[in-house]
Subunit: 344 residues, 4 copies
């Protein structure tokens, strides 16, 4: 199958290259970049010598139309304009940016501070949280691949929400992310000297992933509630850890909740519910498509505590995108994705 | 003034050496270590060449009795036995361990899983959160120096609690700490390879600083409430960042809360309330005795968000201990402590 | 094919698990550990959930004899005793420790300060530097897999030595390594707090990889020369970078040397000679079996400068071991090893 | 005494602020920045709240002329134009850039690829390696403060060169530096994601500190020799470690060399010759003005091995500059500089 990657010069783009290269049924035919077209990808990423040595090209609708699948790893505000014509030509599109995730155009404009994609295309998009919306994804022509934080957060919350053991309006999410999520952009804030031996909160109360998480919580629980969600930047390259707190609806034990989680995800190979008393760490999923989850009922405070971890570039971006490609094609979901985490 | 340091071989111990060396009124007369006595401190810490080249000695009650002030940077369960006789001989003691912080012996035994200090000595101890209990500290002969997490947490919460703008029973504290807080102990968990490029939650629901925080909240607010408090280990050496969330009692603006914080701490040179819209990071206080605090009212969720940072070895340990020594002696509080943070 | 891993609880051991799991022709039948037998590998390495959940067993000669291939990722001084009887039973052994690398038993005893393996077995061992000794490895029943530093150093030096463009007796190797090379052992020196934001030289003049490098230089160049070789520990987990300097025999240009390197390795898929003016970095090979090399002639000093990088756990240990297994079995060398580096 | 800092917005600039603030005889009167004038320094460096809250100003010759001392922490190519008129007005200048270090204008133009300062001003400049050129510095009106690498390299080499125990033409310097040396400039290469878990060589054979080192070696040894000098960037913020190798002129023991070093520096409080068998690490000098040195004679190779470490922003920049100011003013050299390293 012939695929293309638009925005191949960013970190999610090269992660797509890494994963697609190890997929047995796929050939990367085109890699596209707005800012660096004309260069060999090696000039930007010499780790790809002997792996992928393609030339980055300009966006060209006609040429891209000959492909079967195109992945968009573009900054927000780009794919909303270029996906619609490509979709109209029959190419299946997976968008890793936020442009097609929010169903309500006004929400996009409020949180992203940009013009939204046309409303009709927002409706055509399927939200690509693989384990939750698998049946819809099977039919999708346009997948809005989830954000990194929403992936970790929602996979951690959904069993409790579906089984109604927590009050949705009491959810707190304290998220910590590695720096690769910020992309490969030159700015003072993300210099090594500024990030190393440091931790900072950012976009407090303003993170564009908030409405995305709330939209899915509302879809699952039926409740339209604002959640508390704060993101922190920590000195690691890859990894997200979300610590989540919510009030319990009624008394329940850690063992009961743990069983609910085990049951809910029992057929999911990428979700690993960790034993009681064990908490996942980001390194334990690094480089893999796993989402690991730990749960505990805190008797003293009557709260459920959930911790989930992912590699933001894999399950939080390129890996889940490829998983969605597998779903759409009816292939086994783990194809190209069954490598072990890299430890240590 | 003659001072001694018991447990001088740990990270808090050498931080006391660093700070006391730059204090003009003080001479370090004795450094004591249980596990490494007989060695020159240089064998353990060669950075001290030319700074301090003393021999670590055995604990000896009579010899220590000749000092004016003794700092205890010992693991929990040690000072509870050796402070009482020294105190009885008239030496002022500042304990950096948790042995004298909890007023209720049963709480100590529940959370620390060790026998408590004698109840009468618990009563003699003054909790050394300098900015809050300054008047009591002035008279103290035994100071229970606060834990690192309680220092960052309580300095961040207290203005809101005192002014009753938050519901104490809705407090969530999501804490992140550097690894020096774990001390200099050989264990697999804290190897570079395991911590680097990783983040982990630990002691979830069981951290011994929980009752310490709740004790002060109860003292200030009059409410005995369980708080949600979770700690995470991040790959930095020094620094604690606490992200705190609480429900607002009634509508209030960020500007109003910010003013309350500015007013409450207006005479405190070590507490820096950051401008609205600016959030403190740990590196901005590294090596200094500052506690920086940012606040925001989140309209959507009707919550107060507070972020506080300290250097866990300075304001969270040795620095605050020396600040307390200054208070007791009637010296200016900043003596020996007015160095700038080390940045970057 | 049935394989076993002895010393599976160390970092090289779990790296073997990672790589062997993705090899299509191999099944891991036994994992053995002296210190942690009886435990599930998950208790030590939870990243392996769903990947490998085997029980670590005691060393048992008879049980191991049923396997086709056994890898030894044991500390030095272990395999010298347990490999001979297993080899005698016809099992092919690949030893990742240093026990069978030095042909001269006295050298082993001088540098390792331990009793050597029996001399007859030293003679049976083939040094497993895949690209250099491929023909011998094909016939091997016992492979002494090269050390991490010798691999990076020798692959960088050999073209220049073979073509006699440098004086062997002027070789300086300044090596920098990540901390995983030190294994997973609890000690103060390798705590995060001690390694982070630090660099240290270690084993100056005493590193046991010195005689190993000199032995191969002697084999290739015919000259028995002492080399200058110093190792440094830097705050990364994976990666070795060797900076090498040597006097040129006669005037030669960077272009000429570069061509010699390109030619020498033109059929080697794991060796990437980087373009002139470009120097490899460790991250560019992380997680992969690549060895990247850059060369330059320094006109002012009349020296050849060579920089080589590897992932110490892959090309420097488990990856090269698996490459050797492929060679012995007549399989394509890249099988199970063709994943891209993980970047960033 | 009134001082000013030009280029106060860079890392060396803020380090000057940190150190000058703790100097009892000095007041910072002006801070100047070309690119960020008009801003409060707090907008760039919030760690300075309560420490220094000055406004960055434009360069203004007349205003600066009222000061006693001006420090230039500007990029290369700036101070060569603005120091001469200020010097002519009688203000003592300490230049932390490379503009006045090389006596030969042609060397500057070759290595810096910029127009040199006027030759007459090059002659007026005194090279500020405090321990070596103290007598000249006492009389200086213009100090060319040494580069970070030359400081660490030369302090390590000079005793051996002065005593003629090594051949100057065999010197190899393998240098490793933290990232703060690159300054606070937004570029992709120094992003956290690119530096973290990585090591790279840079400016191989082209580093502008090479002629500076050679100029001093020539001055001390009388020999004009090219040295081999290569720099590496490692993932730490502060610190330089130089590993140096040179052939011995005649047989000498480690003990003899060690004694030579001890003797040569016996009155130097900032130079610490470490005991035989002990090698200095960068963290052991972090935040301090120390230069630590270890030496060993390697019998096998007949070479002297020297390892020196400094904090590149202190002894390698702002600290040595302040030390030079103390020398010029006849003050004790350690004033404002006697803080302990920050460990860990």
């Amino acid at each position: 199958m012939k695929v293309g990657i638009v925005g191949a010069n960013g970190y999610s783009g090269v992660e797509l290259i890494r994963l697609l290269q190890q997929h047995p049924y796929v050939t990367i035919e085109k890699i596209v970049s707005h800012s660096t077209h004309g260069k060999n990808i090696l000039e930007l990423y010499p780790h790809l010598y002997g792996v992928n040595e393609m030339i980055l090209e300009k966006w060209n609708l006609d040429e891209l139309s000959n492909l079967d699948f195109v992945f968009f790893a573009t900054p927000s505000g780009v794919s909303k304009d270029i996906i619609p014509p490509l979709l109209d030509k029959g190419v299946t599109c997976i968008d890793l940016s936020g442009d097609f995730r929010l169903k309500n155009a006004g929400d996009y404009e409020t949180w992203y501070k940009k013009t939204s994609a046309p409303a009709e295309y927002l409706q055509k998009a399927t939200y690509g949280l693989s384990e939750v919306y698998r049946d819809k994804i099977k039919q999708a022509k346009l997948v809005a691949n989830p954000g990194c934080f929403p992936t970790a957060t929602l996979l951690g919350l959904l069993p409790a929400l579906k089984k109604q053991i927590i009050h949705a309006n009491t959810i707190h999410v304290d998220a910590k992310t590695g720096v690769s999520g910020a992309g490969r952009n030159a700015n003072l804030t993300n210099l090594f000297t500024e990030i190393n031996e440091n931790i900072r909160a950012y976009k407090v109360g303003e993170h564009q992933h908030i409405p995305e998480i709330e939209q899915v919580i509302s879809d699952i629980s039926g409740e339209q509630v604002p959640i508390t969600f704060i993101t922190h930047l920590i000195p690691i390259n890859r990894g997200i850890l979300c610590t989540m707190y919510a009030d319990l609806v009624e008394q329940v034990t850690t063992e009961e909740v743990h069983q609910i989680y085990k049951d809910m995800y029992k057929d999911e190979m990428f979700i690993r519910i960790r034993p009681i008393g064990e908490w996942p760490t980001t390194k334990e999923v690094m480089g893999s498509n796993f989402c690991d989850i730990g749960v505990m009922v805190n008797r003293r405070t009557n709260k459920l505590i959930i911790i989930s971890v992912i590699d933001n570039l894999v399950k939080g971006a390129a890996g889940q995108a490829m998983q969605n490609m597998n779903i759409i094609n009816g292939w086994e979901e783990h194809i190209g994705l069954n490598n072990s985490p890299l430890y240590p």
